[in-house]
Structures are given as C-alpha cells and as structure tokens.
Symmetry: C2
C-alpha cells in the first residue's frame, strides 16, 4: 500500500518558516514511528502570484484535489495589498476551500494552562477553556451570487449575497453534532434569525437534524451578537459552537484571542469522504502570515505543528499519535520554552522557531 | 416657542421599568432647569403586538416621524419567540430605524472607573476605555433585497443581500469622522474587503471621504475579524470605530461586554436633519428586555438614563446638561450605589430600580 500523500503549501510571510518545523516532525514520524508520507510542495498566495500571476495555479489546485491532505502555512502580506481583488493572495485560500468543498472548518479555542496569563481576560475566566468552533466554510456571504460592484442611478453599489441551502446547513450541522458527541455533548448554534431569513433557515435545519439524529446532544441557539458577548463574558459555557462562514470568521477570531494563545491555535477544514474513505482536508494555523516578524526566525511553529496533529487525527486515523504530538507541545510549554509571542516583554531570551521545533521533537 | 417633543416607547420586559426613571428625570429637568418637553407615550414590540397584532402600529410610526426624538426601552421576550418573523417584536425596532432613516448608530463603549472590576478582562486592559462605535443602521444585510426563504431544486434556500450604495457609506462615514474630530481624532473602519466586494466599496468610499474633507483625522482600516480580535486584545487602541450594520451588531456587543458595564451603556440612532435642524433621532439602552429579571424592580436604569443624556446632547443642543446628567450617574456609581447587575454575589443588598433613579436625581 502506498504512503498517504501530503501537499504542503507553505505560502507567504512566516508560513514557510513554521512549515519547516512541521516537515522535521513529519520526518520524525517516518524515522521513529514508521509513519511515512509522500510529501510534495507547491506555491500559494503571494508566492504563487509572484511566480504565476495567480494566487493558486490550476496545477496546484489539481494536486490539492488528489492528495490525502493539504497543509497550508499562511497567505498574504503588505507587498500584495494593492493587487486587484481577483488575484489577492486570499483568493488562493478561498479557491482551495471552495473547489475542495471543505465545508466544515474546525477551530479549537483552547487555553493552554501554561499560557493562561497571556489572555487579556482574567485567568479564572479562561483557564481550562476548550471550545470547538465549527464554521461553515464554502458558502454564505463569501461565495453567494450576485456579487460585485455595480453602477445604479449614477452611483456605485457593492453587493454580496448571503445564501444557504438546506443541504449545506444539514451537512455542516452533522459534522458539528458528531464532534459534540465525542466531546462535551453540547452544541450552541449561532445566527441572526431575528433579522435574517437565512438565519431562520439555519435555525430550522439545525433543529431538524438534531431531532432526527442527535437528540442525545444538548442543543441551544443564540443570536450571533449575543454569542460575541457571551464569548467575552463567560466562554466556558460553550462546548461546540456551530455557525456560518461570515459569523464564524469573527466569532472564531474572537474566541482564539480569548485564549491568549493565538500562536498556538490550529484548524482543520474538512469536506466529504474521498474514495479511500478519508475526508478531503486542509490543515492550517489560525494565525496569518505575520509580516512584522517574518524572515527573523521568531515565529511560533506550534499552531502549524498542532495543525499537523489535527491531520493525524482527522485524515489519518492516528488519534494516538495526534495525542502524542499535542502532549509534546504541552510539555514543552510547561517546561518553560517560549517563542517571543509567548513571553512578557521582560521574559528573557525567547526561543527561535527552530529551537521551539527542536524542543517539540525532543519531547516526542 | 413650543416645547421640544419626545415620544416614549417603553416596550417590553424591563423597558417600562427603566423608562419610569427616565420620566422622573425628564420631570426634574422641567421643574429645576426650566427644560420642558412635550412627552407622549405609545407601544412598541411585544406590547404593540398584544394590543394591535403588529409590533409597531402605523399611527405610532407616524408619531415617531413627527417628534423631535424617540426614547425606546427594549423589545421582545420569550412570550413572543414563536411568532411569525414578520410580526416579531424586533420588527418594530427595525421599522423605526428604516422609516426614520436613522443611518448612524452611535454606541459608546465606556468603562466606568467604579466598574472596571466587573469586566472579564484584566483591569489595566479596560480601565479608562472610551470607544465610540458608529454602526450603519439602515442598510446592509438587515434590509437588502432579495431576501427570504425560497425553494430551489426541491430544497429550501435562505437568502439575504448585503448591499451598500456609495451615498449610504458616505453619509455614515461623515457622521463618524465628525465624531472623531470632537474626540481623539482617530477613526478605524472595519469590513471584509479581502473577501467581499461590498467591503471593497466601503473601504474605497471611506478613503475618499477622508481625503476630501477629513484628512486631519487619522484613518485606518481593519478586517472585521481582526477587529474582533483587537477589541479583545487591546481595546484602548481605538477611538472611533466605523462599521456596517451586521458587523456593527457583533462588534458593538463585543465592545459593550468588554466594559463590564452592559447595564450602563446607551445608544443614539441619528438620521438626517429635520426642518427644525434637529436630526431624526431615537435613543435606547444597549441592553435588551431582560425577561429573567423583568417585573422585579431590579433593573439598572442607568443605560436608559444615559440614553436620555445622549438625547440632550445630540437632539437638544444641551451639551452642558448632558454632561451634568452623565456626571450625576458617575458620582452615584462612585458613591457605591449599585443595582444587582453591578454587584458581586456577596455584595450586600442591591439598590432597586427606583432607588438608583432616586440616587441619580439626588446627584443632579
Ligand atoms: C484570510 C481570510 C480570507 C480568511 C477568511 O476571511 O476566512 C481568514 O480570516 C480566516 O479566517 O481563515
Ligand atoms: C434586537 C435586534 C433586532 C437588534 C439588532 O440586531 O440590530 C439588536 O441586537 C441591536 O443591536 O440593536
């Protein structure tokens, strides 16, 4: 049987720096645990634009469709700010999400014990926080038609369309309920059913899926504005949060920031099962390309490493190895190794990206 | 000259309770300061539905169009949860906003010194916080057409339309720049120009208005997801935040919760000048109808009282009297008077709604 395949799209800014550490960890799994992957690499984002004039080449897209999982670093940076919308680095990411049909974006917001002091929230409010946000990723206002800037009555009009079908809501709801069943058994669905019909349909379909197949899960509904409030007020009330693409963008960033561990947070974007039973999948850190620190060897590779742990769990059925890798990262943190983002200003000399990678490998 | 006119729509839940205290303060201004208002009252929300089968009667709408300012309490409650979307209590609020064309929603997020401990954020991060969020209130995904739940290919589809015209963005941007000029001279505009064309137009128009008439203001742009993060991480970096209707809904609730003073926060919704030069205006607390405590005399009337202070400032050109009322509320807080929402669990006996009103009047 051939090895599972991985496509690495390191992207821009600190993307390649953190991905280097992941590749060392992938090599470790081959050497020490006999877990071998066929790894290929390609360009995305600004890097792809520089090479090909597009943020994702068709050949890269085709490869992404064939592999067992994509690992993505980060896209974008100030050098690309003035590009036309249609070729912005972000478009590469959105094309991958859409064409691979990665409808379920899993974003854990976890507060690491060793880092609870870094949150801007009081320690008792965030210590032990462990939320899973499931964000719909292939529809809604990001992709709905009609869209564009038009001229009407002699002025410009900007239009986007929030659009959800029953089956789009159904499938992401099922993914979220399944996760809730493996976790704390609670799911809170967030929309604006008080002002938007798309929110009414969202709430109705989630309620129907729950009644049909997941009545063991404790389901609640919350307006998304209240959700933003409650995340700040008392985030530990949540287990799994299910929401749409646009609300999920804001709410998951808010939740990520609560933890004080932005440089630590991974994500998985999952689609339907392929012929081999594995879901279409892309894994990436929640942080961006961080142009302010790129090229300096300062970036924290943990979010990208933990994204690979999610790949082990969700793509390769290696839950025990995922646990091992996560435990290694936690023990490194507990031992006091810190990249610059995890230190107070007067905390001494930070570990470099490579040193953090070394420490994780040593702890494996 | 006739007195300025006020229409009071106390609404549901704690709305009427907090409004009673505002009416006492209005009476105080007549008695003690010779500031008299012609006050009328009417129904909105669930109360209007109970009486008329609609959340806002046409006669009430007509009155709201004629008065100098509307004071609104709160709408909604569990008794109305199962009503049809078209007659939900919230529709009354949205009709007022839309037909009065109240395009600029001003939401101060202020952390009162005496209450900084109530925030879930660390004290140094929120102490002294004073942000003004300007949310567009009459367009965007709340009102765009087409909207509804349709059937396509044998399944339901929920559709809403995010739609902004150049002139809609222009006018709310001007309102925000004017406020920035009177405040800290900084404005941060938030959208998702990286994924939505409506966000691109938003950014372009704000940039144009700035270049044309407000180049003295320090303008920055931020993606709304990063905005949510930055509000949690370091909210004091902001002075005025300008954003659209839907993002503003989430971001202003998030900002409000940061302060720890949800029961203290007022809002103003302003439209174009009327014939008498006053803007169309509605004032309301940020909190909702709070069904859990309604009817118990526990509600904090300060947010509603401070909304009346905003009316004094923005509708009646009584800036000094607005300052006086705000100072009275602050001194009452500093003296230790607290409604239940402003106390720790073991804080002793809380002041009732009426006692808080008494204390504010005594401090005037
Ligand atoms: C980079 C951007 C297109 C993206 C999004 O808006 O989805 C990012 O914010 C995210 O959350 O992954
Ligand atoms: C009650 C609801 C319709 C309203 C809104 O969504 O605008 C509220 O959340 C607000 O922010 O004023």
């Amino acid at each position: 049987m051939s090895n599972p395949s991985l496509l690495i799209l390191a992207g821009d800014g600190i993307g390649p720096e953190v991905m280097t550490e992941v590749q060392r960890i992938i090599a470790w799994y081959g050497d020490k645990r006999g877990l071998n992957f066929d790894v290929s690499e390609d360009l995305v984002g600004g890097a792809a634009y520089d090479a090909h004039g597009v943020p994702l080449h068709d050949d890269t897209m085709a490869k992404a469709q064939e592999v067992d999982a994509v690992l993505l670093g980060a896209v974008g940076g100030p050098a690309y700010d003035d590009l036309d919308f249609s070729v912005k680095p972000e478009r590469g990411l959105l094309r991958l999400r859409k064409e691979m049909d990665l409808f379920a974006n899993l974003r854990p917001a976890q507060c690491f014990d060793a880092l609870a002091d870094f949150s801007s929230l009081k320690k008792d409010i965030v210590a032990g926080l462990d939320i899973m946000i499931v964000r719909e990723l292939t529809s809604g206002s990001y992709f709905g038609e009609p869209r564009g800037i038009f001229t009407e009555n002699n002025e410009r009009v900007g239009i986007n369309t929030q659009r959800y079908t029953e089956s789009e809501i159904d499938r992401v709801a099922r993914a979220a309920f399944e996760l809730a069943r493996k976790r704390g058994g609670k799911l809170c669905s967030m929309e604006k059913a008080n002002v938007m019909e798309s929110g009414i349909l969202w709430r109705d379909v989630v309620t129907e899926v729950h009644a049909a197949d997941y009545s063991d899960i404790e389901l609640s509904h919350m307006y998304a504005d209240n959700g933003a409030m409650q995340l700040v007020r008392a985030p530990k009330q949540f287990d799994v949060i299910l929401t749409d693409n646009l609300f999920g963008d804001l709410l998951s960033d808010c939740a990520a920031m609560l933890t004080g561990s932005l440089g630590m947070l991974p994500s998985a974007s999952l689609g339907a099962p392929m012929e081999n039973g594995r879901p279409k999948a892309m894994y990436e850190p929640v942080h961006g390309s961080a142009p302010d620190i790129s090229g300096q060897g300062k970036a924290n590779p943990c979010a990208c490493i933990l994204s690979f742990a999610m790949a082990l769990r969700y793509s390769f059925d290696q839950g025990a190895e995922a646990d091992r890798l996560e435990a290694a990262v936690e023990s490194v943190l507990a031992s006091g190794v810190r990249t610059a983002d995890l230190m107070q200003a007067d905390g001494g000399t930070p570990a470099s990206t490579t040193e953090m990678g070394d420490a994780v490998i040593a702890a494996l």
